[in-house]
């Protein structure tokens, strides 16, 4: 690459992104040409000597205040959602949730007790009926067999008649 190509490449760089190959050629050129390299470094120097943007003296204090305020409004943002629900500001929600849970437990226990009672009553009723029914149940299996028998062969039935 010569000086003119280098200048052209610089001009190209203002118009579009350079390719890998073009960047490599530029690197080689700068490494071999201290004059251009110095110009490049002078530009970097211009940037590095730009003054820092003024920062307010109370910058850090204001940031910390903001963080503390945020923490008070939404404490322990770093915690899991269920841990955050334990925070004092959710006290009404916590009470409502506890009351709901208690009612659900009481309801569940009551329903289970009701089911147990129904089963016991049903068992007692069946037992009381069973005392009177053994006679009626003697032919039960025969009757069941007839009920489940195959359909009648119509032709055979006609022949038997």
């Amino acid at each position: 690459m010569n000086q003119s190509e280098f200048d052209n490449l610089l001009q190209t760089a203002t118009e579009r992104d350079l390719t890998d190959g073009e960047l490599a050629r530029l690197e080689r050129w700068l490494a071999a040409n201290p004059g251009d390299q110095a110009e490049w470094e002078a530009l970097d120097h211009l940037l590095t000597t730009l003054p820092d943007t003024p920062v307010a003296t109370n910058f850090t204090a204001r940031v910390l205040d903001e963080v503390r305020r945020a923490e008070t409004a939404h404490p322990a943002l770093g915690q899991a959602w269920w841990q955050r629900l334990l925070a004092p500001q959710f006290r009404p929600v916590q009470i409502a949730a506890a009351a709901t849970l208690a009612m659900m437990v009481i309801g569940g226990v009551g329903y289970q007790s009701h089911l147990n009672q129904s089963r016991a009553e049903m068992a007692a009723a069946v037992a009381s009926i069973a005392e009177f029914t053994p006679v009626f149940l003697v032919d039960f299996e025969a009757i069941e067999a007839v009920a489940q028998a195959d359909a009648i062969d119509e032709e055979l039935w006609a022949a038997l008649k």
Binding site: L47, P51, P54, F59, G78
Partner: protein, 212 residues
């Protein structure tokens, strides 16, 4: 030297003490957080101000950057360098402000300042950030460099500003700019430098300055 200019903006410290501080912040350590804010308020302000060109708004955004660091501290992964994460947040908030102004142009109250003398009065004087006494630049040249820098496309400007801060590698710049390739970073930085050079050269030679 060419290697420095084209491959790195500065040295990369792999044993980053900021990571250790940030891990403490992650655990809720407010004193570690304060140390980080103190350490990085200047580079964040530099970046945000030169992104949005409004000193008052820049300060609010820079503060918000650090508040976001606190609020999202649990998401910080030590695999990323702290500054990469910090500058990414700063750039994103800066871009949000630029977008907001594009949608509501009337909200942009401050015009770009032509030179350092016209800074808004609201800025509290800060002994830690005076104009460097050893700066070789005259006020006028500095203003021209600032103006040329402000006129660069956002990515070129951000990349050059991150280079300016030092200690920011091309890999980090690639991450801050949204995970672009190293070649793209090199090209963006080179383009930015080439545009600045083209803009400033006539001024440095003959004092001729072309408004963009």
């Amino acid at each position: 030297m060419a290697k420095r200019n084209l491959d790195f903006c500065g040295m990369v410290d792999r044993n980053d003490p900021d990571v250790a501080l940030m891990l403490r912040v992650k655990e809720g350590d407010l004193s570690a957080y304060e140390t980080l804010v103190e350490k990085f308020k200047q580079p964040v302000m530099n970046l945000v101000y030169r992104l949005i060109n409004d000193i008052d708004e820049a300060e609010d955004i820079a503060q918000n950057v650090f508040v976001q660091v606190w609020k999202t501290r649990e998401r910080y992964e030590p695999a990323s360098k702290f500054t990469t994460w910090l500058f990414t947040i700063a750039r994103n908030l800066g871009l949000n402000e630029i977008r907001r102004r594009t949608r509501h142009p009337a909200d942009s109250l401050d015009e770009p300042r032509p030179d350092n003398e016209s800074q808004p009065l609201r800025v509290v004087e800060d002994a830690s950030s005076p104009i460097p006494a050893d700066a070789a630049l005259s006020g006028e040249l500095r203003a021209k460099v600032e103006e040329a820098l402000m006129d660069l496309p956002e990515k070129q400007r951000t990349a050059l500003l991150l280079c300016r801060e030092g200690g920011v590698s091309y890999e980090e710049i690639a991450e801050v700019l949204g995970g672009i390739s190293l070649t793209a970073v090199k090209s963006i930085i080179f383009r930015g430098r080439a545009v600045l050079k083209n803009r400033l050269k006539p001024y440095l030679k003959s004092g001729e300055w072309q408004k963009k």
